[in-house]
Symmetry: C2
Subunit: 260 residues, 2 copies
């Protein structure tokens, strides 16, 4: 059973996951970050030690969680002698195999959610996607994940990569469209708050209806008069205009295929 | 005071708005649609008469609500003698002035929401944007809107057009990205349901945090390794690949400007 954890990283994911683990009763042994301020802040929250030196990372924990940028992971691993320690990464787009040369017990612990340092979030409904190098390790990670969430899923590396890509579409891109919408209304002195009930309903709708069936608006019905008006409003913002055309075309193409 | 209403149109908006008005105690006199099946279905729900003939539209109601496609509105108005009847349209992108030649009492009644015929929705939190040809008409429309919603806003035609454009970004485009995300995961045999907590949290987050501050993901930090992996996965879907590049670039551009 996993009881003690070292967290490598102190960004959004490390902060939220570390906090959730700490609140679930796990003992966080140490936080590592190359940025001292981040390491200190998270260590304080998790009531633990911290280090900014790779060679001082605490390897005595039952589990080492790497929650760092993809391109930092290999460099860190290369400088640690993990040997038989249980190590996991938390990256959507890295296969589990990147850990294979560094320990004989390894896996992936990927909570599928958007995390910000300042925003507390319950892990109960967050799908935690796990993968492991052996059935024993899988069982250990499953038990740990189940302490945090009601939705623990066994997901292989290829599937996780798809999920990560889909998360970019359904979260990162979606959020950027909230941002663009805000730019549009604020330009004419209208409060962004007016759009909030629409944003909530748009998300709530696809909890019950497939996105294809939930689609509304001018692009779906190819209402050229409205589309042209909108493009005209965006005349001074060629980048927005181009995105508008592009996405409208994509919507129209998706919906003109009958019964798709 | 408005007590009786004729509804011209039987689409998504006409259906949801008509139902809300009916439930709020208004008497719907008649539904008009050129499609008989739609007219019949909505008239049945609203416990009223219907017609498919323009020259039989009931002009005796206190209010005529035009909830038809933008390009159908002028044609319909041209065939009716509204004279002094109170008429409103419900279109985001049409200025109020399109009604000016057809009656001396007119206005706009624009509920800012995504509507589907089958999905019941409470109007209480839907912003209803109103505009009117005179203070008296404005007061009447305000009173009517207040029966449905707690958020009645006086919005002029230019502002309404901005809101409509922003709604395309924050609802129609957002929903299409849910659809694209679904395509991505289903291609690798993963259940779209796994993305639902992420979709809900992405919307919930911007209720409290500005979209700019809520942004996460590879595009914001210009993580080229992940972006290139994602583009490679999308190799067989050039249209998706192009959208991915485009929106990622837009996110990166927005976030590289300090303190914007």
């Amino acid at each position: 059973m996993i009881q003690t954890i070292t967290i490598i990283g102190a960004g959004n994911l490390a902060t939220r996951l570390g906090t959730a683990l700490y609140q679930a009763g796990l003992q966080i042994m140490q936080v590592y970050s190359r940025t001292e301020a981040s390491a200190v802040a998270l260590a304080k929250q998790l009531n633990c030690d911290f280090t900014v030196e790779i060679n001082k990372i605490c390897l005595d924990a039952d589990l080492l969680i790497f929650a760092v940028k993809d391109d930092a992971l290999e460099g860190l691993l290369g400088q640690l002698a993990c040997n038989e320690k249980l190590i996991v990464h938390t990256a959507g787009s890295l296969p589990m195999s990147v850990l294979a040369g560094h320990s004989c017990n390894y896996g992936v612990f990927y909570p599928l959610q958007t995390f910000s340092k300042q925003r507390e979030i319950s892990f109960k409904s967050i799908p935690i996607c796990i993968e492991a190098s052996s059935p024993e390790t899988l069982a250990k990670l499953k038990a740990l994940a189940s302490l945090l969430s009601n939705q623990v899923e066994e997901i292989n590396s290829a599937q996780r990569q798809s999920l990560h890509l889909a998360a970019v579409f359904t979260c990162n891109f979606v959020n950027h469209f909230y941002y663009l919408g805000q730019q549009v209304v604020e330009e004419s002195g209208v409060d962004f708050n007016l759009l909030k009930p629409l944003i909530v309903e748009t998300a709530a709708k696809v909890m019950e209806v497939l996105p294809f069936d939930a689609q509304t608006g001018p692009a779906k019905r190819f209402d050229e008069a409205i589309i042209n008006k909108h493009l005209k409003i965006l005349e001074q913002q060629p980048e927005l205009q181009e995105i508008y055309s592009f996405v409208s075309k994509s919507i129209f193409e998706a919906h003109k295929i009958p019964n798709k």
